[in-house]
Symmetry: C2
Amino acid sequence: MQLTSRGRYAVSAMVDLAKHQNEGPITLSSISERQFISLSYLEQLFRKLRENNLVESVRGPGGGYLLAVEPKDITISHIMSAVNETIQTTMCKTDETGCHRGSRCGTHNLWSALGLHIKFFLETVTIQNVCDDKDFLNTLKAVEKTLSKQ
Amino acid sequence: MQLTSRGRYAVSAMVDLAKHQNEGPITLSSISERQFISLSYLEQLFRKLRENNLVESVRGPGGGYLLAVEPKDITISHIMSAVNETIQTTMCKTDETGCHRGSRCGTHNLWSALGLHIKFFLETVTIQNVCDDKDFLNTLKAVEKTLSKQ
DNA sequence: GTTATACCCGACTCTTTTAGTCAAGTTTAA
DNA sequence: TTAAACTTGACTAAAAGAGTCGGGTATAAC
Ligand code: FES
Ligand code: FES
């Protein structure tokens, strides 16, 4: 199980955008160079980011992309969902092909809890945090401290 | 990104085994029926579980598998590693094909923290917990409470 | 000692997902 | 008019995953 590059690239690009926020529209080719992501691939990703209202585009020469929302209000979860990078931990369907043929399997609550655990992290960290490169590490420490006390 | 069935099946099977612990060696075909997992696939998984000393096998008629360790000492993480179901959140390599061509990218700490976050959960929950079907949910609540206080 | 049970093992195929490309547009500042 | 830069749909190739197959070997029961 591996975080796909779709999700990682999208976040990298959004962070790059946030860091150059005050420089006007940022071209994909400049992001491409800085983040080592192919231009075509970025175009694909930004289509989805725009459709999800996370970025705004400016066409024509001098154009590029701008954040449509403030960095502190964009969570990693927003970005991941936008590019269809969902983290699916359960495999239950209601039909005959599901986990336990319709009913809940003995591990359902485990995977469901894992899913929530991950979701919580992704919804807590914003790209502002990533730019600052510290808050989510503190978050993590607090979590571990709590758990180890049990 | 999706939890693979390799990992989910392995955990399901181990939990099944734990629940029938006191019945002597458990055959794979009985697990196969209860958990809706093909026998061949189970054999593949149990090979790895045995190589990692999580289960013991008894050959011949009346044979089957037994837990090699107590349920309270087997974490989800143990099982997942045994069947090569690692959750990889970073993509850094040291060579020229890595994330940022050798150096750290701006999102490295984020993914690294996510990886630790998941790892912590998987190392905290045991199959005993899953059998009881409650402890890891409490764990989760404690985490969320801590985080929401920040 | 034959037989049936059930574990053991390597290799293989099929399917799905992901990564990345390509070839065509359209808008607009200079 | 031109060139920069976004827009779009479709396409291909590579990787990972799921699951199968055909052979084994050990051993309890008869
Ligand atoms: S994971 Fe939901 S029923 Fe098995
Ligand atoms: S994830 Fe480690 S360098 Fe990018």
